[in-house]
């Protein structure tokens, strides 16, 4: 055995110190586990004090008055209980808010930003995370209401389109791709990608999907891709250039076969899902697509869809995801923003949100973590005439990695973007 150099000796000496340090570090979570509620509550109390009197500018898509009304209700409750003023900034496109935060970052505004809380997921979250536009330290899993969730049962609350949330955004609601059809016109809707293709070719001009880059339109393409792809494993990793063509070939084959038979011959598409819902109401198309299982029911209630409309999903399941609340790095009222996120995750707010008469957005909470009363509260909610039961919605598919969204969009544009 060769003699040790001084450096090696030093390293050897450091080793035990390192070990001891590591052990301490590893014990830390265990120590907090002994009294998590207590320590967490105490921390949160100081946040609550700091939040008092703050104004939270909540930037959230404002295209649906049901959602707007729900946010207004939350604002009243927060003002009453926590002395927080909630201002809903109604966006028509979340990306616009992301670019505003970006230009604030570019301008060196690291505090006093114009956005305190943002309704976000998927691509926008990934872009924010990549560019350092989010709070520097994790906060979501230390919210008191986090204890009502179960990431084991619903991994999507920690995995936003296969991107780890790292506690930088707090889950708010769930979404799942559902199809709506008018049972008076189309009694037996097609329940798979293959059947759908056959249906489109049989009844030309009566099917369409929102035009990419619309979120729902791209989600529909991902749905078809997952259903037709030979191997879906690559979809859950970042796109690899070499694999893209091979993996997506079945999707383009499917689209090539149906596009000439789409609404307007595939030369025009509705801009978003509410417009497609309108086309279903008008009888221009047979099928609408939505990312909220209760969307059709509430549209029927508002008189925007005929009462004979029903929803269904494909037999192999449909894409499901979770939407979140994020706090930008330069939020002016980060404490109050946390209180708002915590309140919106509370069983009380989640029960109200899940009520189809209010909004009808499925909860992210785990029933087995709730109190008896709260469970009863969820159980008592009406389902809505056109909404599928939880059991019927059971088959879900995970969202591919967000990089696929961009890649599919680019290729879609290349192939169909000039109208053929």
């Amino acid at each position: 055995m060769p003699a040790m150099t001084p450096v090696q000796m030093l390293r050897l000496a450091i080793l035990p110190v390192m070990c001891a340090f590591m052990m301490v570090v590893m014990m830390l979570p265990a120590a907090t586990l002994t009294g998590p509620a207590l320590a967490g509550e105490r921390d949160f109390a100081t946040i609550r004090d700091a939040a008092r009197g703050q104004t939270v500018y909540f930037n959230a898509w404002g295209g649906d008055d049901k959602i707007n009304d729900y946010i207004a209700w939350a604002g009243n409750e927060l003002a009453r209980r926590h002395d927080i003023t909630l201002k809903h900034v109604k966006l028509s496109d979340t990306a616009a808010a992301v670019s505003r935060i970006l230009s604030e970052q570019a301008a060196g505004r690291s505090t006093g930003g114009s956005i305190d809380l943002l309704w976000v997921n998927g691509e926008n979250f990934a872009a924010m995370k990549r560019n350092g536009l989010l709070q520097a330290t994790p906060w979501a899993e230390s919210l008191p209401s986090w204890r009502y969730t179960d990431a084991g049962a619903l991994p999507a609350i920690r995995l936003d389109f296969a991107v780890p949330t790292d506690g930088l955004e707090s889950p708010w609601g769930r979404a799942q791709l559902v199809f709506a059809h008018d049972s008076a016109r189309l009694p037996a809707p097609p329940r798979s990608a293959a059947d759908l293709a056959a249906h489109i070719i049989e009844t030309p001009g009566r099917f369409t999907y929102p035009q990419p880059p619309d979120f729902v339109g791209l989600s529909f393409l991902k749905q078809i891709l997952i259903e037709t792809a030979a191997d879906t494993a690559p979809l859950y990793r970042p796109v690899e250039e070499a694999l893209f063509d091979a993996v997506t070939a079945p999707l383009w084959q499917w689209l090539d076969s149906v596009t000439p038979h789409l609404w307007r011959g595939g030369r025009a598409y509705p801009a978003n899902y509410p417009m497609q819902r309108q086309l279903l109401a008008d009888g221009e198309v047979d099928i609408a697509i939505a990312f909220n299982p209760a969307d059709a029911s509430s549209a029927i209630e508002r008189g925007e869809l005929p009462a004979s409309v029903r929803t269904y999903i494909h037999d192999g399941g449909t894409i499901a995801n979770v939407h979140f609340l994020a706090i930008p790095f330069n939020a002016n009222a980060p404490e109050a923003a946390r209180i708002v996120a915590d309140f919106l995750l509370s069983p009380e707010a989640q029960i109200r949100k899940a009520d189809p008469r209010v909004w009808g957005d499925p909860t992210v909470l785990a029933m087995h973590r709730l109190s008896e009363d709260d469970r009863a509260g969820f159980a008592a909610l009406p389902r809505g005439v056109a909404t599928l039961s939880e059991a019927d919605l059971g088959a879900t598919l995970a969202e591919p990695h967000p990089s696929w969204m961009k890649a599919i969009e680019t290729e879609w544009r290349r192939r169909y973007g000039s109208g053929g």
């Binding site: 500018y57 898509w61 404002g62 295209g63 649906d64 008055d65 707007n68 900034v89 109604k90 966006l91 028509s92 979340t94 990306a95 616009a96 808010a97 992301v98 670019s99 505003r100 970006l102 230009s103 604030e104 970052q105 570019a106 301008a107 060196g108 505004r109 006093g112 114009s114 691509e123 926008n124 872009a127 560019n131 016109r185 030309p204 001009g205 035009q211 880059p213 307007r264 030369r267 025009a268 598409y269 801009a271 978003n272 899902y273 509410p274 417009m275 819902r277 309108q278 008008d282 009888g283 221009e284 008189g303 925007e304 005929p306 544009r413 169909y416 973007g417 000039s418 109208g419 053929g420």
Partner: protein
Amino acid sequence: MTGILALATALPVIAGIVGVMGPAIGLFPPLGFVTPSLDPARAFLATPGLARAGMTSLVTGLGATGLALLFSFVLVITFAGARRAGWLRRLAGPLIAVPHSAVAIGVLFLLAPSGWLMRLVSPSLTGFERPPLWALVPDGSGAVLCLGLLIKEVPFLVLVSLAALATLPVRRLLATGMSLGYGRAASWVYLVLPLVYRRIRLPVFAVLAFSLSVVDMPRLLGPMLPPPLAVLIVEGFEDAELAARLPASFGAVMQIGLTIVALAIWCAGEWLCDRALAWQRRRGARLAALRACVRILVGLAAVPLVIGCAGLVAAALWSVAGPWFFPAAWPESLTWRFWMRADSLAPALAASLVIAAAASLIAVTLALMAIAVARPNSRTGLWQVWIFAPILLPQAGFVPGLQMMLTVTRLDGTWLAMIWMHMLFILPYVWLILAPAAASLDKRHDRIAASLGAGRWRRYGRVTLPMLTPAIITALFVGTAVSVALYLPSLFAGAGRITTMTLEAVALASGGSRAMAGVATMLQLLIPVLFFALFQTVYRLGYGRFAGMRAGGLH
């Protein structure tokens, strides 16, 4: 004074242009792009259908502008001077105030395969139980986009033409022409219209530039695949992938280039028309067929106006409609339910009113002060270029860059920034109306006042201003109308702190509820109509007794 005016507009415009030029050549430090490169250009040029997109922009822009000018002249020839001119103004006024997106929504309500027209005749006449598969809207040719633009631009050009006419000795010119044996229509074309055109040349340029860069209309009316160039750019800026703004910035620079090309083509057209007219004039052509032509064209010119109004009626009906499914001609029931929800729009309504009033007043005051000092005519003064830059440049190109500057100075989301930004877009229109009006004032009035011993400011206050009143009132009205309809600048300057009626309306329309879109459209319309009524009353009370002052104003 002119320096201040130029600075107030040049500063933000330069900031905006720098804000797109940098990223266009690959410089965008916030995302770590610090070395110039051709990648953004390459990426944008690879956009599928780009050539067709550019062509669509060019054809629809030039087509809509040409037709709008033709139609507005035909309407002016037919109705100006006659007692019937009043209703033309009253119709044109509110129509220019309707935001473009609202017009597009109206056209869709009316002309879509499941639209109101088809509902009225189905299934009784057509036998359709379901909307037919063929469609007028959205269309791929850009014809419907042209129609939508005409609905907005014909009234605008009619209004500025009437304002220009007020400064011309129309009756004498027509009398001269007719005494030489030319018909009335020929006298208009030979003698009056060239003078009118010279005065409204800049508004026509503004119409051309705007038609090339309109975004909200093609999104509803088509063409969609590929869309016009401006839509491609905005899509880039809206992309969640932040690096997409680099190619989009290059697109914005291209859009500026396209606008210059279109202006060049337009100027060539001007030259040709001028030659043709001079040749006809020299050979003394009587243009006997002109009268019949005008008759037919008036019928055509009425089409966009009628469709525009019918679309608004359809929007009004939707705002109170209960369930209403194809092929029912009328809603199953009427309801005020959607109007009840309008109270949540009250803050936005109030903000819009305040911003429109403040920005228009400031713009008009600035313009009047500049006129007092400089007595400009529309041909000289390079500094005027800066005033027009905001409407000659594509909004999607320089507004994001402008916002960057507001963010640096921490002015975003303030009323100051909002009103300033609106002022920027109002000022060119105000200038277009006031400068030619001031330039064409008969200087002899001023000299007479001077010979009576009145000082410069007294002459200005007692002679020039009262004579400019019709133009001032038109300018205030156009200013408020422009302000209410501004979307992109409000979105960026408001920073979510200040929300306007148009921001609310677009957000609501994105939700696809026709009823709420109808309510929002009606509320958007309400503001300009309110100002219109106000100005008209003020004008009538103040100047109604002067017969010679009736022309040119809104009355």
